[in-house]
């Protein structure tokens, strides 16, 4: 069976473009295949990092846009360590993830952020100021008392914040889902040669929560520490999210501490602070391969995270020890970090990978099975002929 030939348009500037996302040494690659061979995840039909490196060198933008491979890499850095040409395949995969994030995003904001750290920083600062302005205005207009933290005439009443949280979550979810649909279209839907029956999608659906919660694929890397750190960070964040979305009222009340809820909060805070400090130290010292190269967006993400975790626990402590006014001010500062962090990072920047990674695991499994089915089907007539003979 001959497939209709398809001319592929190349983008010779693609390598230069990727440089803005962090990939600097792609042209050094001479395709020895060492990286693919040492990678614990490089299995057919997803062979990487060499194949994406080739696509990059040749400027095959569409092929890259439809690749799931970058999301299957966890940057253990073994490929970069052993690369005979110093082509940094690990960092290339990281850059491709940034580039893909910007491609999935329909608004173009992501692209803007990745191309210029300054713009992202400005957006963060702008978002922070707006947030502060909005909350202070709202609190003052409704006659909130700065000396009161909880109760009826609190400066920022928990119930209202709760509504705001749900609204923000709804908007972010909508944005992220749109990007996820685009990801599906680029990697699965658009491919006319790929025929995926609906039940295959259903069958693999369990993979989504599984990979989201355990990140068990990451654990397959030779070094387990990065996985452990990442899992701790993710779980801490998840616990915090659940607490804020469902138990905000409990955390707010006082003065006695409801340990059934608060123990989780403290645990999550320790987790968040510990892991972000570890990551920041690592990036400063370049202690591990995946910390060796830091994009501006990596720094902004970590700094925001540690800022938010720190102000969060600080306002809690201030309230518990009775400095309600200080706690209210700190809370505003905390929100100045939280709102831009979530609003910018989740749909447009580094944090979006919380959706893309599990999706990629899911899609790649579905895709591989669909391809296998197709192959079998293509072989069937030949097999039948053989058995008939």
């Amino acid at each position: 069976m001959r497939r209709p030939s398809m001319a592929i348009r190349v983008n010779p500037k693609l390598i230069d473009e990727l440089e803005l996302y962090g990939a600097e040494d792609v042209q050094n690659c001479y395709h020895c295949g060492n990286c693919s061979a040492v990678c614990p995840f490089s299995k057919e039909p997803y062979i990487f990092p060499r194949r994406p490196m080739r696509y990059l060198q040749m400027g095959l933008e569409d092929k890259l846009k439809g690749s799931l491979e970058p999301w299957l890499c966890y940057y253990c850095g073994q490929c970069s360590e052993e690369c005979p040409r110093g082509a940094e395949p690990g960092e290339t995969m990281m850059s491709l993830r940034r580039w893909l994030t910007s491609k999935y995003d329909f608004s173009g904001i992501s692209r803007l952020f990745y191309k210029s750290g300054k713009i992202e920083l400005l957006a963060v600062i702008g978002g922070a100021l707006l947030t502060a302005l909005a909350f202070v205005l709202w609190a003052v207009l409704r006659g909130g008392n700065i000396h009161s933290y909880s109760g009826e005439n609190a400066f920022l009443p928990a119930a209202s914040i709760h509504i705001f949280d749900w609204a923000l979550a709804g908007v972010l979810l909508a944005l992220l889902l749109t990007n996820c649909v685009r990801m599906w279209w680029f990697t699965m839907g658009r491919d006319k040669r790929l025929k995926v029956p609906f039940w295959l999608y259903l069958k693999g659906l369990y993979l989504l929560p599984l990979h989201f919660l355990t990140q068990k694929r990451y654990a397959k890397c030779e070094h387990k520490r990065p996985w452990a750190i990442h899992l701790a960070l993710m779980l801490s964040y998840l616990i915090m999210l659940v607490l804020i979305m469902f138990f905000l009222g409990v955390m707010w009340s006082g003065p006695e501490i409801d340990w059934r809820v608060h123990v989780f909060g403290y645990l999550a805070t320790v987790g968040l602070l510990g892991t972000t400090i570890f990551a920041l130290r690592g990036r400063l010292k370049k202690s591990e391969p995946h910390y060796a190269h830091s994009h501006e967006t990596d720094w902004i993400f970590l700094v925001l995270l540690i800022f938010v975790a720190f102000t969060g626990i600080l306002q809690h402590i201030l309230h518990r020890v009775g400095f309600d006014a200080a706690a209210n001010v700190t809370y505003i500062v905390h929100l100045m970090g939280v709102v831009p962090m979530l609003g910018l990072e989740v749909p447009f920047s580094k944090w979006s990978h919380l959706a893309y990674r599990p999706l990629a695991m899911y899609f790649s499994a579905v895709r591989a099975e669909a391809m296998e089915r197709e192959e079998k089907k293509a072989l069937e007539p030949a097999m039948a002929a053989q058995s008939a003979a």
Partner: protein
């Protein structure tokens, strides 16, 4: 002529010892120079922007300073064409090509000056001549040294040939076949070795090392240390009695360690001089301070073993010196992922050469090692038994230690071809064996080489593109892990024998020799020639020549050709009585003044 100087750096090593800021200032002060710009390390250059710059400054000549040949010139040529200028006026001031690496800032400046004046550097920096005495010292008795010695001696001029090993022959004497003709290496080399041994114009000093060289071009004073051989070369008839009675054995250098030799031995039966040698390091007599053993001296029927012999030094004067020190192979234990030294059946190319050689320890049989119990040491060890099992699957891995930023960045030039030769030898001797070649790029560049590569593939060897990443042992079976790049799939290849095509590195002691002679070596340690294109055999030092692999990795045909070319250079100076002086002694102002007068500025 309005000239712009653009300083670029192609590699970190290429600029070592050069003060680029000083070069920048120097260039800016030259007449003609309108602008100097340092573009930094490996810049991403855009011809359109460069063309605008050339146009804006109305540059008529562009000098690219520091570039290695072929790195940035195309971009500048394109920019010059876009700017409507004369593309012939894009000139390269290559630091590396003209020896600034190792010679420092003044040399770099003089290279830039020559390019600015539009004068070829070798022309402006042509050294003068000096009176030369007729003798020639050749350091190294491999095929390069042998060829040069014979050419010069056959012309009737005296030659001193100094070899570190007890015999001449070098690496070529170890080989079984040559590529691509599959001629017997020994059949080509041994007649030449015998000719050297018998030549009346050649003073052959084996088991000797050059200790010191002083003097100036045309009159070098050489001191050679002749290590005590303890065997009289003239009297020894190579009857083998001493070896038979010797109680001590150690691994054989000539068999690259896959077999043993005695403490008193002859490296191989065709050795020149054809005499035995006593290795003090492994000898019981010397180990015990002369108290034990000494049995060889007692049993020698010709009484030609003198255990009390001491090292001697000899001194003589020569006009020319030929460096032909060749190479060593890369130490495969440094590449842990291939398990050399741990996995018994991972061997290096030289070990395979000895194994497949009919005069080698296995008599030319290709076998895998077997586990045997050593009763004396009470351990199980892997031994090479000529009757051992032949391998069913053989893999040859290319580029071991070569073209790798973590090992040697350069291509060792000979490995692709000898690996293909190995595949042929394996398939010839073991027709049922499956043979794989794992390569990155197949470099079959010489006469008949590409045809040879095609022939080997047609013979049924699996030629797989993709560097093997690891060799692992799974249930006692060696498995090669790699990617098959052409077919775009991952491959796990189970094999019984792995041959590592190790690359070439400068011979041990090259650094000492370079310091002694005051000549430069390139960033990889190979001796630097005077000019890459026009003087590939001379060096910065007058009357000092380089032949063979000591200058850069080379195969046998190229080595022999270069050695003959060296002989021509030597004979020219010996016949006229005048040889070239050192270019290293020329000062910056001399070169600059000469360039200026040649350019008539």
């Amino acid at each position: 002529m309005r000239t712009g100087v653009f300083i670029v750096q192609a590699s970190e090593e290429g600029q070592e010892g050069i003060n680029l800021h000083a070069v920048e200032l120097y260039a800016a002060n030259l007449p003609l120079v309108e602008k100097v710009r340092n573009l930094g390390m490996r810049p991403r250059l855009d011809p359109v922007t460069l063309a605008e710059e050339i146009k804006a400054d109305r540059l008529e000549r562009v000098v690219i300073a520091g570039d290695s040949p072929g790195f940035f010139k195309p971009v500048f040529t394109r920019a010059m064409a876009l700017a409507g200028g004369d593309t012939d006026e894009v000139r390269l001031a290559s630091f590396r090509e003209h020896g600034a690496t190792g010679m420092g800032t003044p040399r770099a400046e003089s290279i830039v000056a020559c390019a600015v004046y539009g004068v070829p550097f070798p022309l402006a920096a042509r050294p003068g001549t000096t009176a030369t005495v007729p003798g020639t010292l050749i350091i190294g008795g491999g095929v390069a040294g042998i060829q040069a010695a014979l050419e010069i001696a056959d012309a009737g001029k005296p030659v001193y040939l100094v070899e570190r090993q007890p015999t001449i022959g070098g690496h070529m004497a170890m080989f079984d076949k040559t590529f691509p003709t599959l001629d017997c290496a020994a059949c080509i080399l041994t007649p030449k070795m015998v000719a050297v041994g018998q030549h009346e114009m050649i003073d052959l000093m084996t088991y000797s090392e050059v200790e010191d060289i002083s003097g100036s071009p045309g009159h070098y004073r050489v001191r050679v240390r002749k290590r005590a051989r303890h065997v009289d070369i003239e009297a020894c008839v190579a009857c083998n009695t001493c070896t038979e009675v010797c109680p001590r054995s150690t691994s054989s250098e000539f068999d690259s360690g896959i077999a043993n030799r005695k403490a008193i031995y002859i490296p191989f039966p065709q050795a020149v001089p054809n005499a035995y040698v006593l290795d003090e390091a492994s000898c019981l007599y010397f180990e015990s301070g002369g108290e034990k053993c000494g049995v060889c001296a007692k049993k020698c029927p010709k009484e030609c073993i003198d255990l009390s012999e001491k090292d001697q030094t000899v001194e003589f004067e020569v006009g020319n010196i030929v460096i032909a020190t060749g190479y060593d192979v890369y130490d495969a234990t440094k590449i842990e992922r291939y398990g050399y030294g741990k996995l018994p059946n991972v061997i290096t190319a030289l070990e395979f050469e000895r194994m497949t050689n009919a005069s080698g320890p296995t008599g030319g049989k290709i076998v895998t090692k077997v586990l045997r119990h050593n009763k004396r040491k009470k351990i199980d060890e892997w031994v090479l038994d000529p009757e051992g099992p032949p391998p069913g699957r053989v893999a040859i891995i290319h580029c071991v230690g070569s073209r790798d930023a973590q090992h040697n960045p350069y291509c060792s030039r000979v490995c692709c071809m000898y690996s293909l030769k190995f595949a042929h030898l394996v398939r010839e001797k073991l027709p049922d064996a499956t043979c794989y070649e794992f390569y990155i790029d197949m470099r079959a560049f010489g006469k008949g080489y590409e045809e040879f590569a095609e022939r080997i593939a047609a013979e049924g060897t699996f030629v797989v593109r993709g560097r093997t990443a690891r060799i692992v042992e799974e249930n006692g079976q060696m498995v090669l892990k790699g990617e098959d790049i052409i077919n775009d799939r991952m491959v796990d290849t189970p094999v019984d024998l792995v041959i590592l095509a190790v690359g070439l590195v400068p011979a041990r002691g090259s650094d000492k020799l370079a310091a002694m002679l005051g000549i430069a070596r390139d960033e990889d340690g190979w001796f630097s020639e005077l000019d890459y294109n026009s003087d590939p055999t001379d060096t910065e030092r007058g009357g000092v020549f380089v032949a063979g692999a000591c200058q850069a990795p080379k195969d046998i045909p190229d080595t022999v050709a270069q050695a003959s070319a060296v002989a021509a250079g030597v004979l020219k100076s010996v016949n006229t009585g005048r040889g070239l002086d050192s270019r290293a002694d020329l000062s910056l102002s001399e070169i600059e003044a000469r360039a200026r007068s040649l350019a008539r500025v």
